[in-house]
Amino acid sequence: MTSEIGGYNFAYLDEQTKRMIRRALLKAVAIPGHQVPFGSREMPLPYGWGTGGIQVTAAVLGADDVLKVIDQGADDTTNAVSIRRFFARTAGVATTTRTAEATVIQTRHRIPEQPLREDQILVYQVPMPEPMAKLEPSRAETRRMHGLSDYGLMHVKLYEDIARFGQISISYDYPVMVNGRYLMSPSPIPAFDNPKMHQMAALQLFGAGREKRIYAIPPYTDVRSLDFEDHPFRAIRAPHPCGLCGAEDSYLDEVVTDNAGGRLFVCSDTDHCAERRACGHVGDDGVAEAAE
């Protein structure tokens, strides 16, 4: 079934387009957290399904790279499979599911549990790059607000949350300040992952295809989740160990196991869970590796 796609350039995009995207990426790296408009192309995948991430990956990918693609932390979700297959076909690069082996990781909604290194690039798929989009629909207006670092609106939203609910009610796509200057959407990762962005060794690139924006966080940059001194940011995680590997510090998926309300909590990062099990960690619902 997986026939090669003929007649297309390495990694699908033509070199002119890649150069245009790289110029936008360089600008984005130079101004951490600032959204750089770019001439997003129409990709053979639908908008909202990772066209921005795919274009960024295509622009940074070299023949020697090893690519990992995850969606919801898993390598085997259908959209991750589809995107990995796209690059395997159009670029012929090696792919992997192991975080440690990858040089480029494209992700939707998660940051891998394992700390990333300086020689790795994390590419985020971003549906809505504007962190204030839900508060102010006009992009002309939010652009002005970023220019003037006029972020009162965002802080008011957090204030209102506490006034109404006693706590900040944002649980994913939790806004961050990058390098003390730009308010940024971390993409819809769970707030649990936000602290991993801070001072990360790897380069973080963000691509929003439909909204035609690119932004970046260079390695070792300050990334702070917005909060109040007396209501500090709290990472949210289901209060259980992983049923398969027993991890108590990883982000968990909740799996419904039967019609009687049975629940199983397992690592959302499938590679992390597999690595731990390979090292002999076993959760309450798991089986020891040696037994298989």
Partner: protein, 361 residues
């Protein structure tokens, strides 16, 4: 109980594609649809796909319609994704609709005019009765023919313009913007706005145009002229230095005539909304012209109050490829975020419970 994570996304995708191909083919005892049948007999669908797909290629559009099982937005998407990979050889010189080989030309603002009213192959005055003769496959009676008019009929806005009643064409030598290469920026010029409308979703344009007629940003429109037919496309190759004809395309053009009260510097005159679309579609061209005129509200000193007048609103939502992608992406897994919401709501409920209990004690 041992739990094994679900695997096999790859195989599921392959199987889904195989099933899709079978469903597309349909009953194998019925003859397979040929692409030239679609190109020849479903011309209006092909026109729409070419317009929203931003690529004038009847055969490719017909193939896309076949591949998409007649889902026209999906077909336009296929064309777009193909188009974006094509190299660019040249930019055409502006087409001249005054030199159109006219198939249809009507004006609602004059009873009669030089060149006459030409209905062309229109559905306008058909009675919408299902034609069971088509089911039987009877050949149509021959259509009467008349010799083509040698002279080009004048455009209605030129007739009004001669009297100074119509805003003048502004000659602009700057290279028009291109949405497919440069991201949309606001404020957006009329060149980019017209491009966005020309490839915009027909349903969206129709609804917005309709809304202006119902009081949401009215512009007192008259259909000045609708003309449809073939125009030649010319390019100027750098090595030649003069224009050469590279072929004909069929288009529909609509010039709306709108009231304008005038300003301090401009006497009262008529203004225009402009629509130009591939192929045959009065609906699409007229809706485009209405929305184009509405988006000129600010430029003409009118209040911007209605959706159709809000340039950012219209341009950000006109593209059905963007819209369908983002609406449908909601079916991708979101369980990581949902899990975070779930834990959040559980935590908030716990804390509220504690508070109520404390208060009760």
């Amino acid at each position: 109980m041992a739990y094994v994570a679900v695997k096999g996304g790859e195989r599921a995708i392959d199987n889904a594609h195989a099933w899709l191909a079978e469903a597309r083919r349909g009953d194998p005892s019925v003859a397979e649809l040929e692409v030239d049948q679609i190109a020849g007999q479903l011309g209006r669908a092909v026109d729409r796909v070419m317009g929203e797909g931003s690529l004038f290629d009847r055969d490719l559009a017909a193939l896309a319609i076949k591949q998409a099982q007649g889902d026209l937005i999906e077909a336009a998407f296929l064309l777009r994704a193909y188009r974006t990979t094509l190299p660019r050889f040249a930019q055409s010189v502006p087409i001249d609709t005054a030199k159109m080989a006219i198939a249809r030309r009507i004006s609602a603002v004059f009873k009669d005019l030089p060149g006459g009213q030409i209905l062309g192959p229109t559905y306008d005055y058909t009675h919408r009765l299902i034609d069971f003769l088509l089911l039987a496959g009877a050949p149509p009676p021959p259509a009467p023919e008349m010799p083509p008019d040698e002279a080009f009929p004048p455009r209605v806005h030129d007739i009004l313009g001669d009297e100074g009643l119509m805003e003048a064409d502004r000659r602009d030598e700057t290279v028009p913007g291109d949405l497919t290469r440069e991201p949309l920026a606001f404020p957006a010029g009329r060149d980019v706005r017209l491009q966005a409308l020309a490839r915009g979703d027909e349903g969206f344009l129709l609804a917005l145009g309709y809304s202006t007629q119902r009081g949401y940003g009215g512009s007192h429109p008259f259909a000045g002229e609708i003309r449809q037919g073939g125009v030649s496309v010319e390019i100027v190759p750098a090595e030649l230095g003069f224009a050469i004809d590279i072929g004909d395309i069929e288009i529909t053009e609509c010039q709306m005539v709108n009231q304008f009260k005038g300003s301090k510097s401009t006497p009262p005159q008529f203004t225009r909304g402009y629509g130009l679309v591939f192929g045959v579609s009065d609906r699409r061209a007229m809706a485009m012209a209405l929305v184009d005129r509405s988006m000129r509200a600010e430029e003409l000193g009118e209040d911007v109050t209605a959706p159709a007048q809000d340039i950012e609103f219209v341009l950000s939502h006109a593209d059905n490829i963007e819209a369908t992608g983002f609406v449908e992406h909601l079916k991708l897994p979101h369980y990581v975020d949902f899990q975070s919401e779930l834990e959040n709501v559980r935590r908030m409920r716990r804390e509220t419970e504690l508070l109520t209990r404390d208060a009760a004690e």
